[in-house]
Symmetry: C2
Subunit: 204 residues, 2 copies
Amino acid sequence: MSETVKVLLADDQALVRGALAALLALEPDLEVVAEVGRGDEVVDAARRSGAQVCLLDIEMPGIDGIAAAAAVRDELPGVRTLVVTTFGRPGYLRRALEAGASGFVVKDTPARQLAEAVRRVHAGLRVVDPSLATESLVDGANPLTEREREVLRVALRGGTVAAIAGQVHLSAGTVRNHLSAAIGKTGTSTRAEAARVAQERGWL
Amino acid sequence: MSETVKVLLADDQALVRGALAALLALEPDLEVVAEVGRGDEVVDAARRSGAQVCLLDIEMPGIDGIAAAAAVRDELPGVRTLVVTTFGRPGYLRRALEAGASGFVVKDTPARQLAEAVRRVHAGLRVVDPSLATESLVDGANPLTEREREVLRVALRGGTVAAIAGQVHLSAGTVRNHLSAAIGKTGTSTRAEAARVAQERGWL
DNA sequence: GCCTGCCCGTGACAGGTGTCATGGCAGCCC
DNA sequence: GGGCTGCCATGACACCTGTCACGGGCAGGC
């Protein structure tokens, strides 16, 4: 059982990816066997390389790290996933765990803890950033309904209600109602704020 | 002249910082002599450690990497700075060069090129991401006036015109005028969009 | 069956927003 | 000085927004 742990790295920023590889290469019991820059390449690369643990950034082109974790869970049982992200948004944590991720680490944790997190995940343990575990509880579940999320996602890019209504194929009045509900639920006063807050909380 | 180049690392994400340190440690001619997580600690740490090249992330608490580069230029002549950032926004490049940075590298450049960039900067050369150099020219200069930028920065956080007017100590009507001008100059139709676009272009 | 919750739509209303015209003030350059 | 530009402010106008009240439809749970 003293063989090395095979790790796959997924991050869209080549520099960060390479740096993380260098960091993990310092550990004699870890081996980086694959590196990808897109979420939709994770499953293929993991299968080909025989990776045992996948380190996934959330922000990636193709599909994001959370969706990639779900894909790995569905198609490669036995392969563990560890989500590493810039933003410690509580909603991300919840969604990552729902997607079957075994671990969730924020990018401002000390570098030395990363290797340890990989080992724990490989051992079947669950690794969760402690600062987020508590926040996640007080934040509670997503109060937004499906339509409200859809409208908010479009509203994130800006534009008038009419423009949003066109993209969602609803009437302008309905869009205003959904936005009004979202504004109420986020405790804000404009739809721009509501969209920003909702995104920060991982509600979209 | 075959001595090692002393490098300071500044990035708010500890994991990335450690990973970059590991990456640079692979190069025998480079030596990481200091690591900081805040922009306002750069000058002190560089002075103490005798760093010759400072690797600065832009997004940092305290002061950002661009302001830190300006501070290094003013207080530590002879010390070169290399700005490394996630977003390849043309405005960032221009501002970084104005702040006296000797190099500008985006985080999705290949990991191997980082060490080479550090060497070139230390040798007195200027290193600029080629994909940005052209974009920077077509984008042109910042068309926004000082007041417009100020109002937009506040508008970025959302809120009504009255709230913005209060924070900027102007009348609501004037704020509307500035916002209207900014909307025109950004080619958008709402102030939320204008603020977003302006920030993406590094105009704020 | 009834009730609840979510969805979609309409209409109306107060207030916010974006645009424009106008004026005054300061600084700068020819 | 005259012209120009940027800044601040005011007022007016049409339009957009956020809110509320009201319907109707559809699913799930008691």
